[in-house]
């Protein structure tokens, strides 16, 4: 069984602070991490590998630094890492990312399962999983908490609101793992160091994937940043009923 996990490298949110008053982002340490929800997806894949035996292939797009994310994934236990990188891929949005991943998965051939995290920290959108499913013509499962495979099917427990449902889909399928569904393991420290010494991710560029510039037209463009309002001084209330009313108006309960 071949399981593909699509991971994204994002800026470490602990490395920057946002000043709402000055409307600026101050980056103190420019460090990149594997998008935390994607780590849950990788963990789910590694558990499937341990339970049923599988080859776990990690795909990551991005500039040269995305190789570090693949090395971390390899240290966690992935079997293969493929780095999709090309000048043409720069600034990819969900549309292009899904096309890239779908092309790579087709090139890998005989993939049974593709796992993704439920959102990317740096865009906040959980679009790549269903988009990938559409690009491949596969079914998808959203917000999966536990995944199992049986002959020709993938079974998952998914959260819908506060309830849980048992879902099964025909393979091949895309399964979007809920963040917090599992506790991702840490890569063995020696393996992390060794990953730089004795292992290199495979590098695929646009020519390897057979993609031209016209296939990679980005749809969404960034128009700037906005900032949440500064915190206002609060109000002193007189009764508990008033508090409940306020909480309901603010939609916090």
């Amino acid at each position: 069984m071949k399981i593909v996990v699509a991971i994204k490298q994002v800026l470490d949110p602990r490395g920057f602070t946002v000043n709402r008053k000055a409307e600026k982002i101050f980056v103190n340490r420019e460090e990149y991490i594997i998008n935390p929800p994607d780590r849950c997806a990788l963990e789910a894949a590694l558990r499937l590998k341990e339970a049923a035996g599988a080859e776990v292939i990690v795909l990551a797009g991005g500039p040269e630094r995305a190789g570090d994310a693949l090395r971390q994934a390899w240290a966690m236990g992935a079997d293969r890492g493929i780095h999709l990188t090309d000048k043409l891929f720069a600034g990819a949005d969900g549309l292009v990312a899904a096309k890239l991943l779908a092309t790579a998965i087709r090139k890998l051939a005989d993939v049974d399962l593709a796992l993704t995290g439920d959102r990317a920290l740096d865009t906040g959108a959980g679009e790549v999983g269903p988009r990938l499913a559409e690009a491949l013509g596969w079914p998808h499962i959203l917000a999966a908490h536990r995944v199992e495979v049986s002959d020709g099917m993938v079974k998952a427990i998914v959260a819908v609101g506060k309830q849980f449902f048992a879902v099964q889909a025909q393979r091949p399928a895309v399964v979007v793992i809920a963040s917090g569904a599992n506790q991702p393991r840490y890569g063995n420290a020696a393996r992390v160091i060794n990953s730089y010494r004795e292992w290199n991710p495979e590098v695929w560029n646009a020519a390897d994937l057979g993609l031209a510039e016209s296939d990679l037209k980005v749809a969404v463009e960034k128009r700037g940043q906005a900032f949440p309002p500064e915190r206002q001084p609060g109000t002193l209330l007189s009764s508990a009923g008033e508090l409940v009313g306020l909480l309901k108006r603010q939609r916090v309960i």
């Binding site: 949110p13 946002v18 709402r20 982002i25 949005d93 969900g94 549309l95 899904a98 920290l121 740096d122 865009t123 906040g124 959108a125 959980g126 679009e127 999983g129 269903p130 988009r131 499913a133 559409e134 690009a135 079914p139 998808h140 959203l142 908490h145 536990r146 609101g161 309830q163 849980f164 449902f165 048992a166 879902v167 889909a169 399928a173 917090g180 599992n182 506790q183 980005v218 749809a219 969404v220 463009e221 128009r223 940043q225 906005a226 949440p228 206002q232 001084p233 609060g234 109000t235 002193l236 009764s239 508990a240 508090l243 409940v244 306020l246 909480l247 603010q250 939609r251 916090v252 309960i253």
Partner: protein
Amino acid sequence: MSFMDNMNTTPEPRDIWVVAEVGTHGKPTPLSLEIVGGARMMADGLGCYVHAVVMGSGLEAVAQELIAAGADRVHVADAPNLEHPDARCKVLSELLAAQPPEVLLFGATRLADELAPRLAQRFDTGLLAHCIALYMDESERVLIGTHPVFDGEYYEVIACPSARPEIATVEPNTFGPPYLDSYRFGETEPVAVDLTGFASRVSMTGPMDYAPLGVPLRKARRIVSAGRQAGDFELVMQLAGVLEAHVAGAREALDEGWITEEQVVGAMGESVRPDLYVAVGIRGDTYHAFGIRDAKFVVAIHPEAGVPLLKSADAGLVGDPPKILTELLESLK
């Protein structure tokens, strides 16, 4: 070019379409009405129509309310087996392929998470996901969306300038409540649903019992926290139960033996970022304030009016905590 030539070309994308959802009570959800109201304002600026689509079964009474909120035409797909997202995706994509919209809006719900990215990929276009502000730039005729990134640390402003339709999913409170005009005129159009030979590749059964992994305190969405002046810890636990919140406390609560080391919030304990943080009888020294600096809405309950936390909290109540908690539990029922 003759009229017949025009018939064969794909129609020009036009109008604003809203995928409305129906709540359990058989009426459009408030979010759907809000988005139809927002779409109405955009359409008035552009000079185009607002279409609403509802899918499900037993939808006779739904259209009128959507028209009142601003829809010019309501497409009703009323069929018994339209509950499954895959079936809805099929019906919706066929409908939209025949009449391509310029803008397609969803409420940011589970259904939108399933459908919007799939449709965006199918129509080769962009998706403005989870927008908390959305407006139509009429000079460019482009939809501009603002959505939170890095868990709401800041917002990014995005647009989809060339591909059509522009698809967006919209969070509640983006447009505000709609103006409901029950005398507004609109059309209702049934959608032919043909699901013969359609078998979803995904099947769903349940609900079932499943205990998800416990959420750690630092990721909790709601926290009720106790301090030295909390008085009755049992009431604090009860409030947490009613609010489905985590129980935590300031360092003093650990001294009282109410909580464990892992539940201490503050600079020497956990830093938390919940949507709601209720501090019961906590003074709010610097250490504690550091631990809750990222909390979205802080409620302070304390017997003394001058304590620091009452000054920095979003809402404060001065009084005897056990008494206030009892009243709170009463009014939350």
